[in-house]
């Protein structure tokens, strides 16, 4: 019969010697290895007192950015949703009314914007797809929870706070080319 896996071993039934029969050397050998591990470098940290250093481009919880004047950047174009391999993003668009120019950057905005964090695989494709630099992943971790419903994050959680001190800096996530492009104020994209 053909072997089921490549790893199968032929078991030998050979008689054990006296030293093997008393087991003690094998037990001591095992304990020696355990003892050795006490003195090696630990691979774990005492979270939450100690946290690990995060990469600047760590892919954690999303943020919906505002522009410098505090207007929402997202225009509900749906490109993040179509790029998302997990189909985690849904949104409903609405038209900006006269007088709301200080709230929304474009004529159209997302009145609801939801990401299902249970579906999200944190691939960052939404960030890559966004033409308006509206959605970014951040270093923040998505918290654990007991109810499934609490993982559908709406605009209340995702939107960047207006408070200038609480703004989220994403410039480290952008490539040098993008940062260079953004300096060009002749481009309508970069105005304000």
């Amino acid at each position: 019969m053909a072997a089921l896996t490549k790893r199968s071993k032929v078991v030998s039934n050979k008689k054990m010697s006296f030293w093997e029969k008393i087991y003690l050397p094998a037990i001591l050998g095992g304990m020696w290895i355990t003892l050795g591990h006490l003195f090696t470098r630990k691979t774990t940290v005492r979270y939450p007192e100690v946290t690990r250093e995060f990469s600047e481009i760590y892919r954690g919880k999303h943020v919906l950015k505002r522009d410098d004047e505090g207007r929402e950047r997202c225009t509900a174009c749906g490109l993040c949703a179509v790029a998302c391999p997990a189909e985690a993003i849904t949104m409903i668009a609405a038209e900006r009314k006269p007088g709301e120019e200080n709230l929304y950057r474009e004529e159209k905005y997302a009145s609801t914007y939801e990401i299902n964090m249970l579906r999200c695989i944190f691939c960052g494709l939404c960030e890559e797809a966004c033409p308006k630099e509206a959605i970014f992943l951040t270093k923040e971790i998505v918290k654990a929870g007991y109810e499934r419903d609490t993982f559908v994050y709406g605009k209340d959680v995702l939107l960047e706070p207006l408070d200038p001190l609480k703004r989220i800096d994403v410039s480290k996530r952008q490539t040098p080319e993008v940062l260079e492009f953004k300096k060009d104020k002749n481009q309508r994209h970069n105005v304000q």
Partner: protein, 322 residues
């Protein structure tokens, strides 16, 4: 019958056919893009120049090449004509120039535009456009206006193809809108806000190759790639009642004409079908429409793969890879 060669493919066509129509009979890559020509509208074509081709041999009798690139939508074929489209670097280069000019005043606000995903100009720019712009001047800007209660006009996005004016003239009894001014200040107007209330005025939305004329009842409702286009029909006293229903679950988000592979509607539909019948019970749904796999509309629409079909053969192999 005339024999004509387009991109080294020989085809026999009727006398009086245009080069564009002959190319469409061959189909595939040799078909030049057309932004202003529309088969169903008399007098359309010859305005956008995106369908330029090179005529390397005028005809069997007079084999001299034509001195300049010609607009294939308005040039009739001659017997023995040799046409180059994709095989001519000159044509490709010229088309890049045409696209640059079409985009010179275009806002390219596709993320906001309701036409995105089914826009001829997007396809054309994607194929031939530059990544950067050569102009620094501000683009012309017009306010967004309502043409009647059902249609929204974004003059910023208009490329002056004239299709809507011809549609209004030929499909409706009284034309209520036309072009004003000239050059880059040209503007579509409804002759001082005369609302268009013709039974067939909604077809202007379908013939507009860009997002200049859009359906107000669908404005910002969804993006085309989130919807499922379905063939649907109903008994209608004014038109054939054969439409495409763009559905999300059991809801109809919008109704359009049935567009063929060249983006032209098979039959013009009336406003009642287009704007008023948004309930699923008004329609008999015939089934999903075939979408090109390259189109963004086909994304996330799952279709069963046929067993054994090779989707992306890896170079140098003949076996499907696991």
């Amino acid at each position: 019958m005339f024999k004509i060669t387009i991109d080294n493919i020989l085809i026999e066509v009727e006398e009086g056919t245009t080069i564009l129509q002959a190319a469409r009979m061959i189909g595939g890559k040799v078909v030049p893009p057309a932004m202003c020509y529309y088969t169903g509208l008399k007098g359309s074509g010859g305005k956008c120049r995106s369908c330029l081709v090179k005529v390397a041999k005028g005809s069997a009798k007079d084999p001299r090449p034509m001195p300049k690139l010609v607009a294939s939508c308005s040039t009739p074929v001659q017997d023995g004509m040799v046409v180059e489209n994709t095989t001519s670097a000159e044509v490709q280069e010229a088309r890049k120039g045409v696209v640059e000019f079409l985009l010179i005043n275009h806002p390219l606000d596709c993320p906001v535009c309701d036409q995105a995903g089914e826009c001829d100009l997007q396809d054309l720019s994607y194929g031939f456009g530059m990544e950067e712009t050569n102009t620094r001047e501000p683009r012309r800007e017009y306010p967004v206006v309502d043409i009647g209660p059902l249609i929204k006009l974004h003059m910023n996005r208009c490329i002056h193809c004239y299709r809507c004016v011809l549609a209004a003239e030929q499909l409706t009894k009284k034309r209520a809108h036309g072009m004003l001014y000239r050059g880059d200040t040209m503007e579509i107007s409804t002759f001082i806000q005369t609302a268009i209330d013709n039974d067939f005025s909604g077809n202007m939305i379908d013939v507009c190759p860009v997002g200049a004329l859009t359906d107000k009842t669908f404005r910002f409702k969804s993006r085309v790639w989130f919807l499922n286009p379905m063939n649907a029909h109903r008994e209608c006293s004014k038109c054939s009642g054969k439409v495409t229903a763009w559905m999300f679950g059991n809801e109809i988000y919008r109704i359009t004409g049935r567009k063929d592979q060249f983006g032209e509607v098979e039959e013009f539909i009336c406003n009642e079908c287009r704007f008023e019948k948004k309930d699923i019970n008004d329609w008999v749904i015939d089934g999903p429409r075939k979408i090109k796999r390259q189109s963004v509309i086909s994304s996330n629409h799952y279709e069963e793969l046929k067993k054994g079909s090779i989707i992306h053969p890896i170079e140098g192999t003949t076996e499907p890879q696991e």
